[in-house]
Amino acid sequence: MRLPGTRYQEPGWEEVRKLLGQCSLAALRGEGRARPDRLDDYVERMADQLLALRHGARARAAGNGYGDTVYELAVALVVELRARPADWDALCAALADGPAGDALLRKKVNDMFAVLRDRVDADNYQAACGRPCSPNRMYAYRMLDTAYHDVARLFADWRAHRAQVGAILGREILDAAAPIEVRQLRTIADCRPEWILRWSASLEAFGGGPGPLHTRSKRFASLKTSPDKIAAMLREIGDYEQLSANRDQDWLQDLDDASVWVEDYWRVLQESEDAATPGPDRILEARQDALDAAAPEPEPEPADDLADEASDPRLETLALSVSLPPGYLGEAGAAGAGHGKVARLLAADGLPVRLAVFARLLGPDDDTYPDAWRDPATGALPTMQQLAALAEVSLPTLRKRRDAAIARLGAAFNDKRGSDA
């Protein structure tokens, strides 16, 4: 399923989830009790694990129809976790009872990322189309998409599923000719809400377990009684499917540099400060519909997982090298001298702190980094561990210095309205 802005709703998600689970086991193994830096540790270990696996078949596979790889999507989700510590705190609380076995650990991590991906995509959707959305609504779109595919599968083979198709259509199907609805259903936009409701109601009778709209959970309670809402959501998925299939290449209109909007942002703030429109404020009311109000909960995990990859021997032996080539500091330091304005702002910090700032803000492997900055072993910036060793300080100290430098950058940009910082 695709919706405006979403990145994590296509079948490639399964591989993203598995890659995150695989790396999390290694990143959390032997991990001690709660400490203040625990999330930072986890994020950095995950970044290292992912970087080490980025050339694997799973990591390089397509994660969605927009060209993002499984590796890129996994890295982005870990970055999101850092920015939303509540989900991480929930995981820690769930693991507080004592050391967890691999299976339990994997399940908890899985639940955490399952909720997080819908949070992230709900925000992506809002930014892309300007309409409110919640993680629960995102899950509901996906549930309806899955339901439609199952209905379509049954319709396509209606002779073999005559009784079930009859239950979905709400009438008895005679053997002679295909029901007309079977031929009318070509896309999700053709799917009628009452079919979805009857499909869910009858699923258990046909051996599928309780249908998603008919479980004891309250999360879809409001949808169950509003076929018009179901119809609107089905239509929206269908419309966007068509649109995104036709317009997936806007290469001719691409902007040279997507960060130019930052200038618009500062200008909008500046113009408001110079000559604010006198009130009243046009600030949107919080819109809360029952579907959005339900708390996000992880969806049931597919069963195939644990047997599939109980442990990957590569991870056990993965040596995260701390050794950089001799002369690295000198060469990397010389290569970074060109960045005038930014260099001035970061001048007081040593090279390791500067590189930690870049790694945090632009990622470990940005096109703009000079080769001398990169660890030849990975092709990316050195890990935080390596940088701490270079700086001859502890990891927590390096993090503190990095965060202080980032705060200083942010304040400078804000004061000078960005442009001449």
Partner: protein, 186 residues
């Protein structure tokens, strides 16, 4: 290697986009943001505070700002695909952005191709003023039409291929591109 300004701007962007706020939601509607972007109605003090406090609203502003810049940017080309064949000979094709229609007119023993620019296209005025030279190429890169836009936003030429338009395009990638004809292009 990016320029210095660019690196500085990308760091600013990362700082802005990195922020997340628990319970964040869209605080300003598109009309308010668009009016602030085009300068017709600066934000009120309260709206400005809301924009700064809501990373999600800032991301919506980013989306609208980029869309606006993309529309303002010089037109570099449009392309279209041949849809599943209907009944009868092919009469017209529209580019995916909707701004160009390529008509096929059967007359005498042959065909003519007429390219028509939609007057509401964001780049229409600039192209009309410049009487821009354009060309249309098929999916294999062969020129279908190369001419200057007239005052009505049209240009035309005899169909250059032996096969009828529908058959020819079908056999050559089932797509076409309208692009500016650069002075240095033969």
């Amino acid at each position: 290697m990016h320029s210095d300004d660019n690196t500085s701007r990308r760091l600013q962007e990362a700082l802005l986009l990195d922020r997340r706020q628990a319970g964040d939601r869209l605080l300003l509607d598109d009309a308010t943001l668009a009016a602030a972007l085009d300068g017709s109605r600066p934000l009120t003090a309260g709206e400005r505070t809301a924009l700064q406090a809501s990373p999600l609203t800032a991301r919506r502003l980013r989306h609208l700002a980029l869309a606006r810049r993309a529309a303002d940017a010089a037109w570099r080309g449009s392309r279209g695909v041949l849809r599943a064949a209907g009944n009868g000979p092919l009469a017209a094709l529209v580019t995916e952005d909707g701004w160009w229609t390529l008509h096929f007119i059967h007359e005498g023993g042959g065909w003519r191709a007429v390219l028509q620019l939609a007057p509401q296209a964001p780049f229409a005025e600039a192209l009309l003023v410049a009487r821009a030279p354009l060309r249309v190429v098929d999916g294999a890169g062969a020129t279908i039409l190369a001419a200057q836009l007239d005052a009505d936003g049209e240009c035309e030429a005899p169909w250059p291929f032996a096969a009828a338009p529908g058959d020819h395009l079908q056999a050559h990638g089932a797509r076409f591109t309208v692009e500016p004809l650069e002075a240095d292009t033969p």
